[in-house]
Symmetry: C2
Subunit: 148 residues, 2 copies
Amino acid sequence: MIQTRDIQHFEHLLDKHHLKKTAPRLRVLSMMSSRSTATSQPDLESLMQDIDRVTLYRILNAFEEKGIIHKVFDLNGTANYALCSSKCDEHDHHDEHLHFNCIQCKNVYCLNDMNLPAISLPAGFEPQGFTVYANGLCPKCSKKAVDK
Amino acid sequence: MIQTRDIQHFEHLLDKHHLKKTAPRLRVLSMMSSRSTATSQPDLESLMQDIDRVTLYRILNAFEEKGIIHKVFDLNGTANYALCSSKCDEHDHHDEHLHFNCIQCKNVYCLNDMNLPAISLPAGFEPQGFTVYANGLCPKCSKKAVDK
DNA sequence: CAAGTTATTGCAACATTATTGCATTTAAAA
DNA sequence: TTTTAAATGCAATAATGTTGCAATAACTTG
């Protein structure tokens, strides 16, 4: 459930990034924060049918640009969006966390607090960031598999 | 340059997966093997304009299903395709290698022979595979940056 | 707090990509 | 060679990404 302090947090977030506090934007933020997994653009669209498709598209773009949300691609290449951890901002947008794609329920989990081991690359490559995708069964689905 | 033994290899590959040896399929295989980086669907399309778009689409799907190629998403979420290492097959399709997205030239490199460090997940998650994406500058582009 | 300014929205239109059905063609098998 | 099963190419449609523009809503300033 969305609390008053969440609303205030969202408004602050928009303020911080010089984005106007509009109804569609606040609704997108509260929708995303109410979900434990990343949400695809089509899903967001059907969850908030009264927001225009193009508006949603632009809101997501603006949020991503500002470092408020990040984009994750699932196993089908569909873009999924999730709120960034509070540490991200426009200039230091690090989504170096781990993404988990469940092959059963298709949900995308952002496992923010995992620290990744160092990864070495061949000579010449100069990495600026890493993203790790794991696929398999999420806790819910692996539990179901055992229960059967 | 494509050698006779490559053609034979491709034909064998199709045979092995019970796919008919057709001209478009062989052309797609030789095109992909001639490129050091993964190739996007739009690029493949313009490289082989006389192959129908739908045919290309279906060829790529069939190849991926059989474990002949794998799909990599670049920073824009566009699918890029590359030949799998010879060890992949239908039942053991492990593309647990490292993908490198160059932010300059946009090329996608498949760094097959890197072994990834073990990655641990929260309790309940049962991973079946990992894919690591690094983004940054590839050897060519980082060299150019220094030269300037 | 009213008026002006600017960002944002929603609509229409268009571009690109993904996907399906079907008739025709081609490769492999008999 | 004939048969048959798969693959191709075309047409059509669906889904998604993107732009321009007029109307609207949010912020700013006097």
